[in-house]
Symmetry: C2
Subunit: 344 residues, 2 copies
């Protein structure tokens, strides 16, 4: 009997898996300016411009729970998830397509709610819904979003451009979305089986909003353009700070030092984290779904970046050999680790 | 008590559903040349060119059955499904992205098989795999493919361009993929519960190939370009001839007459259909997944089109008021009907 080799996906982790599946394949089309390995692919559009394109899936039971995720919000969030990847290339979003797998249990009215959220986000972000298909699904709701955008080729920020001594900048605050999810999950557990459940969200509305209706930071891309700042590298914070820092380090062949006490965390995030005995820094590092932007700029631009008023400098880029570390207030270094395909 | 209205998706059908969800929304971006309603969306790329983009999902249990669909073939077919929509715009395919939802039951080796098929199709069609993500799924395998291509703006064939008296042309033959699927399903039923099943496919290998490894008709787009033929309208045959003729009629505000005895059907298709007591014409009209192209050209181009040697003229475009009909050899007219979201 022949022995067929079987490797579990969890053994490789998500990064390792993509490397394993795509290694040894190079792009061949002249118009492909960047393939696999960034927030979005980049294709030529005219002599100086480029179109960026990114695709993401949201799967019921993995990415959302319809018992507490309103369909309008879900439609809105799907667009944000897609557009956020376009923004992370320093490009302006223009079009999205939505492909749905829908259980026949779902009514037309429910689908209309989903689309209302999709169109609301499109209008807010100035993008067009230009296509998609709706298919039957025997399982749960499946949402796929493809987002496209445009930029001058020389203004595109790749993950691979971070340089030694660059400052690492972050917009907004981190961990709030993760704590919003924890709150929703807690109330679902507590109220399970109760007829007229009245979940307790008081004081934590901000966290729910960050999870259920995150915003895409188009304002940051506009601000950077106004100030003529082109980040040396950029990524959106969808998988948590630790994972994204490691992505930048891997692509840019560099190390990084992140100062724990500079990570922006909202009051409500800290309050709920303490109530639930979760370390708020862990929520920021590994929680994910913040859809804020992380970017790097040369040290010389520190003042210019601070003048933006919407950015925190949380660390700096080091040599590749020194690795990626979180520096605690007492000066000890903790090696950054990514969350994989499965939480370990 | 308030009464919440509930409309079943099946009541509207797939066309009605998309209309219902997207009505009243116009595109706003200057770069959006065509939004919802064609095989692919069209966005500006330089002054004379355009990028077309299309997105499709393949869902386990709906679009494929892993008990008989080899993963390599499935990866190949996913690329073909995406690229076929690009070709249907008379555009040359250039890039694809693949987004996967994968059960943790699936091994890395199985995923590699899937990717082998994806890359094989990419190499054959000269397109680059430029992105995608791989996510956990609690349900079955979910494959989303986004395909991009490029064309001169004035060479793009929309569904909406068919004119009165245009000839309706079809590449290849129809219904073979559907009969391939029927054969696989029959053998699965017959051999269910048997330890070492030996399915009987002899004589019908062509049908299996058409279902499991359909080709995308890039050769046709190249041939049309060489012969300087720009179809007045074009669509790919993914949902069956009846449905696609109705799509062209709806978009072009016209009617059509299709001559039953001119519909190209392969010998093996007819043979198995007769064996299984299925009308081969029904397989051609409603079977789907042929991934051939249907296009219209002015009557004056009849000779030029016939010289291509790879096309059948199956009918012609009429006035909108006369409707869309199938004409039988005895001269009777049968009104064409589309298959909806659910078979009725």
């Amino acid at each position: 009997m022949s022995q067929i080799k079987r490797t579990e996906i969890a053994e490789l982790g998500e990064f390792g898996l993509i490397d394993e599946l795509t290694k040894g394949h190079n792009t061949k089309c002249k118009t492909t300016l960047r393939g696999v390995g960034d927030d979005a692919a980049v294709v030529a559009a005219g002599r100086d411009d480029a179109v960026v394109v990114s695709t993401d899936s949201l799967l019921e039971g993995i990415d959302f729970d319809l018992t507490y995720f309103p369909l309008k919000h879900l439609g809105y969030k799907a667009v944000v998830v897609g557009v956020s990847d376009v923004l992370a290339m320093n490009a302006m979003p223009e079009q999205v397509t939505i492909s749905l797998g829908v259980s026949s249990k779902m009514s037309v009215e429910a689908l209309k709610d989903l689309y209302e959220g999709i169109y609301f986000a499109c209008d807010e972000l100035g993008v067009d819904l230009v296509g998609g298909d709706t298919r039957a699904s025997v399982t749960g709701l499946v949402i796929n979003i493809t987002a496209m955008g445009r930029a001058k080729r020389k203004a595109i920020s790749y993950r691979s451009g971070a340089q030694f001594n660059d400052l690492i900048c972050i917009t907004g605050n981190l961990g709030a979305s993760y704590m919003g999810l924890q709150l929703l999950e807690r109330e679902k557990r507590v109220l399970s089986g109760i007829d007229n459940p009245e979940p307790q969200f008081k004081g934590y509305e901000y966290l729910l909003q960050r999870y259920l209706k995150p915003r895409a930071r188009k304002d940051i891309i506009e601000l950077l353009a106004e100030e003529k700042i082109v980040p040396t590298s950029m990524i959106d914070l969808s998988d948590g700070l630790a994972s994204e820092v490691l992505q930048i380090c891997k692509s840019s062949k560099c190390g990084a030092r992140i100062y724990l006490d500079r990570i922006p965390i909202a009051k409500q995030t800290t309050a709920l984290a303490e109530e639930m005995h979760i370390d708020p820094v862990v929520a920021a590092l590994n929680g994910g779904e913040d859809y804020e932007l992380m970017f790097t700029v040369p040290l010389a631009m520190q003042e210019q970046v601070m003048r933006l008023g919407v950015v925190d400098v949380v660390g700096h880029i080091t040599r590749e050999t020194t690795g990626a570390y979180l520096v605690t207030p007492d000066g000890s270094d903790i090696k950054l680790r990514a969350q994989g395909f499965k939480e370990e």
